[in-house]
């Protein structure tokens, strides 16, 4: 424990020194660990940059860091995580896609950045799945629909029945317009003809949750880990999940697409790289990424954080991203 603290202290001091001189993190950090693995493997010679298109400490940051730290172990070189937030993840994703295709810059992206944003902005350098290498899908995370524990609805059927009779009356709090919780509700409205009063709380930081627990809004769509504390304490009642298969953290939860087909669009996270990577390093990255996502350590992390691991790669992954495009087109086109 002492060792840890000291190491942290030193690292903090050096981080500060770097900040103070406005320097480039890690330039003189050359202690590359000994290489491991079989001989056919590509062996990087310098640190690899892993771009995360969200801020440090955001809800998406940990899964990227988990992957990066395991990548570091697997490849035996330092993997520097770079948080490039903003522009609905398009800024960081652009950084990955436009980096030199030498396997030294890869990063995290997600379904909305890759499948939805190109529809909105034709200038983005990633218009189709050919513009980047779809290394591996890390995980899905579905949206859970919950209501204030004091609300009268005990089951999903009761809730939907009420919404059907009282269109546009029941409030549904989300983290913002166009976010996955909002997208799922919109998809539900298109598929079912129901009408919710979607209330976007743009500030993040649990404001949507606060509003529901306080009784200000009747229902909420969000990811399970962030609502779990309130479910355990009896303040929120989960009614259903926007997912096509049983969701492990809450196995008994009814699946919304079983009632209204197609009303499910989980958030999905991918590790991608620039297109046209040299074959040797590409093959190694593909292999190593699969090993990481299938590893016990990654699965344990995913389970604890409500993620559903789904290690599809390359063409299969590109096909998934292509399948999401028409859904986003439909959502953009609808005025629900």
């Amino acid at each position: 424990m002492k060792k840890h603290t000291l190491r942290g202290a030193l690292a903090a001091a050096s981080a500060l020194a770097l900040v103070a001189c406005g320097g480039d993190a890690g330039t003189d950090d050359t202690d590359v660990a000994a290489a491991g693995g079989d001989e056919a493997r590509w062996q990087p010679e310098r640190p690899i940059t892993y771009i995360i298109p969200y801020g440090t400490g955001g809800s998406t940051d940990p899964i990227g860091r988990q992957f990066a730290s395991q990548l570091e172990e697997e490849l035996g070189v330092e993997v520097v995580v770079e948080n490039r937030e903003g522009g609905a993840a398009t800024i960081g994703t652009t950084g990955i896609v436009t980096a030199a295709p030498d396997c030294y810059t890869i990063g995290l992206s997600n379904d909305t950045a890759l499948a939805n944003q190109p529809l909105l902005n034709p200038d983005l350098p990633f218009q189709t799945t050919d513009d980047y290498t779809s290394l591996v899908k890390l995980a899905d995370i579905p949206v859970v629909l919950a209501v204030d524990a004091d609300a009268p609805w005990q089951t999903l059927e009761e809730f939907f029945a009420y919404v059907e009779e009282n269109p546009n009356e029941v409030g549904y709090a989300t983290s913002g317009v166009g976010g996955t919780p909002d997208t799922n509700a919109k998809l539900l409205e298109i598929r079912s003809g129901l009408e919710l009063n979607r209330v976007p709380f743009s500030g993040g930081g649990g404001e949507a949750l606060t509003a529901v627990v306080a009784g200000e809004v009747e229902s909420i769509g969000t990811y399970y880990p962030s609502m779990q504390g309130f479910v355990d304490s009896g303040d929120l009642r989960p009614l259903g999940v926007f997912y096509n298969e049983e969701y492990e953290p809450v196995p008994d939860l009814p699946l919304i697409p079983e009632i209204y087909e197609g009303a499910a669009k989980p958030s999905a996270y991918y590790t991608i790289a620039p297109a046209n990577l040299p074959e040797e390093c590409r093959d190694t990255l593909v292999e190593v990424s699969r090993e990481i996502v299938e590893s016990g350590e990654f699965r344990a992390f995913a389970e604890e954080n409500g993620y559903v691991v789904d290690p599809i790669q390359l063409e299969e992954l590109a096909a998934e991203i292509d399948e999401y495009r028409p859904i986003f087109e439909e959502l953009e086109g609808s005025d629900a």
């Binding site: 000291l6 900040v19 400490g57 955001g58 522009g87 976007p200 606060t210 355990d232 304490s233």
Partner: protein
């Protein structure tokens, strides 16, 4: 476990060499980070966060707590010494802090800040310890209507924070609000007033605006009038410490500031900034020395500095008892907990009392560390003013540019810094209150957000905003404060006109 036992238990957990070292490193790093403009509490905590992933949970959280408290303090140090607020919560401190420096009282100002932060931290921790379960629910009393009242009413009241005429406060406020509308609109994602500049999509960042308006404009003023700059020849211990009178005058503002800060800390939004402005405004209203505010009054430093630290500690309540991070720094703390496998939420205090209480104790330890670290450093900071102007001014300029650039690595921010410097110079020449512009820029986006949320909720019905006692109450207070002064003056003038001497004596009493 009752609160007292809990706190003692937490202190017991925290008093290990490793954790004290972590608190020290955090406080030291935080102070250094805060002194650099552009790197405030959020940036500091974000820098430290990845390091904490490898530490035991308590050490990581303590380090972040230290960084937070340290950078708050560090940010105010530059406010006082160079009229260059490192972050928004330090803006009001610059008003009287820098005037104290110009009078050669930089040392006392910094001491008052350090001790005030410590006292506010202590008071707020006691309140957190004793009242956490009771006040946790305060956040649930506030919906969009109440927040709109708080931020909108707050804006109207706080725009007058620097005194002066009505126009001198409200004109810069409007400028600030206008600047705040630039960038991606939060609800629909429309690009507003970006004129095709991709970098403007994220809007005006506060740091280049604040550093430009204050720091760069100050350099222009000094260039124009070299006598303006303070040059300290020697730093004597006696001159570093506040005089007996200064101590005496600091007590009440410390207490008021701590309570104001703690209350704002319970709510989301820019609570540290809002509370520091509110504390200053309170001093204007109630302090016995209110006439001296703006001219280097101790009260103008003591109140806001106590408030921003009180708010920092107060924000622990929603974080720990509800698992809701109400500020960016605490979102990072939450991230640190989640990475460590700790799930914050209403049940944290039952499930992980060790984490709950050691975090509270760690805030306390971080505060003590800060005091130990910073009181001796006052002399060092004041010595900065001994550097000849010909070296100091270019140095400040360089640091300001680096600070502006490094918040998000955008060359545009350097231009913003320079333009704001020119604007700041102009506005100050014309006697406008710059602090109002910062309040506008900080609060404007929140006002819009709460208004939009409320309208979504009520499906466009404006009466929603006056549907609750709390929001009516807040709006009434705001209107009263805004109109009360002028009406009272008007009434007094009329009465004074009729039966002059008698009433005049009473009023002045």
């Amino acid at each position: 476990m009752n609160p007292i036992e809990g706190l003692l238990y937490g202190l017991e957990l925290v008093f290990t060499p490793e954790l004290l070292l972590a608190a020290f490193v955090g406080a030291a790093a935080g102070t250094a980070i805060g002194v650099l403009p552009g790197l405030g509490p959020v940036a500091g905590a974000a820098l430290i966060l990845p390091l904490t992933f490898t530490l035991p949970p308590a050490a990581g959280l303590i380090m972040i707590a230290g960084v937070y408290a340290g950078s708050m303090y560090g940010g105010s140090t530059t406010s006082v010494l160079m009229n260059m607020p490192g972050e928004a919560a330090s803006v009001v401190t610059a008003i009287d802090g820098y005037e104290m420096t110009r009078k050669g009282r930089a040392g006392p100002a910094l001491s008052i800040m350090a001790v005030g932060s410590f006292i506010a931290g202590t008071i707020a921790i006691i309140l957190v310890t004793l009242m956490s379960p009771i006040v946790a629910e305060v956040a649930f009393l506030f919906g969009p209507a109440e927040y709109l009242a708080l931020t909108g009413g707050g804006l109207l009241v706080l725009a007058r924070v620097a005194g002066g005429s009505t126009a001198s406060g409200y004109f810069p406020m409007v400028l600030g609000v206008l600047l705040g509308t630039v960038g991606i609109e939060q609800v629909t994602g429309v690009f507003r007033y970006t004129f095709g500049l991709q970098e403007l999509a994220l809007g005006f960042s506060l740091v280049p605006v604040a550093v430009g308006l204050y720091g760069i404009a100050e350099i222009f003023l000094i260039m124009e009038d070299p006598e303006r700059a303070t040059r300290i020849k020697s730093v004597k211990l006696r001159e570093l410490l506040p005089s007996r009178e200064e101590w005496r005058r600091a007590w009440a503002p410390w207490g008021r500031g701590s309570l104001i800060g703690f209350f704002f800390g319970l709510l989301p939004g820019p609570s540290a900034t809002l509370s520091s402005f509110a504390a200053y405004r309170t001093e204007q209203a109630v302090s016995k020395n209110r006439d001296r505010l703006g001219k280097g009054a101790v009260e103008g430093v003591a109140g806001p500095e106590a408030a921003n630290n009180g708010a920092a500690v107060g924000s622990l309540v929603p974080l720990l008892s509800l698992g809701l991070p109400f500020s960016a720094t605490f979102a990072l703390m939450l991230a640190a907990m989640v990475v460590q496998g700790i799930q914050p939420g209403p049940l944290l205090i039952e499930q992980r009392p060790d984490i709950f209480w050691s975090l509270i104790a760690s805030m306390y330890v971080a505060n003590v560390m800060l005091l130990i670290l910073n009181l001796p450093l006052v002399g060092v900071w004041v010595s900065v003013l001994r550097i000849p102007k010909s070296l100091l001014m270019p140095g400040i300029m360089v640091i300001a540019v680096i600070g502006a650039y490094s918040t998000r690595f955008s060359p545009l921010d350097v231009w913003v810094l320079v333009i704001m410097g020119a604007l700041g110079y102009l506005l100050r020449k014309l006697d406008f209150a710059l602090a109002s512009m910062i309040v506008g820029l900080v609060l404007g986006p929140f006002i819009e957000k709460h208004l939009r949320e409320g309208l979504f909720l009520s499906r466009g019905d404006f009466s929603y905003f006056l549907d609750s006692g709390i929001s009516i109450g807040i709006w009434s207070v705001a209107v009263l404060v805004m109109l009360g002064g002028p009406i009272w003056k008007l009434v007094r003038r009329r009465i004074v006109g009729e039966e002059s001497d008698k009433v005049k004596l009473e009023v002045e009493d």
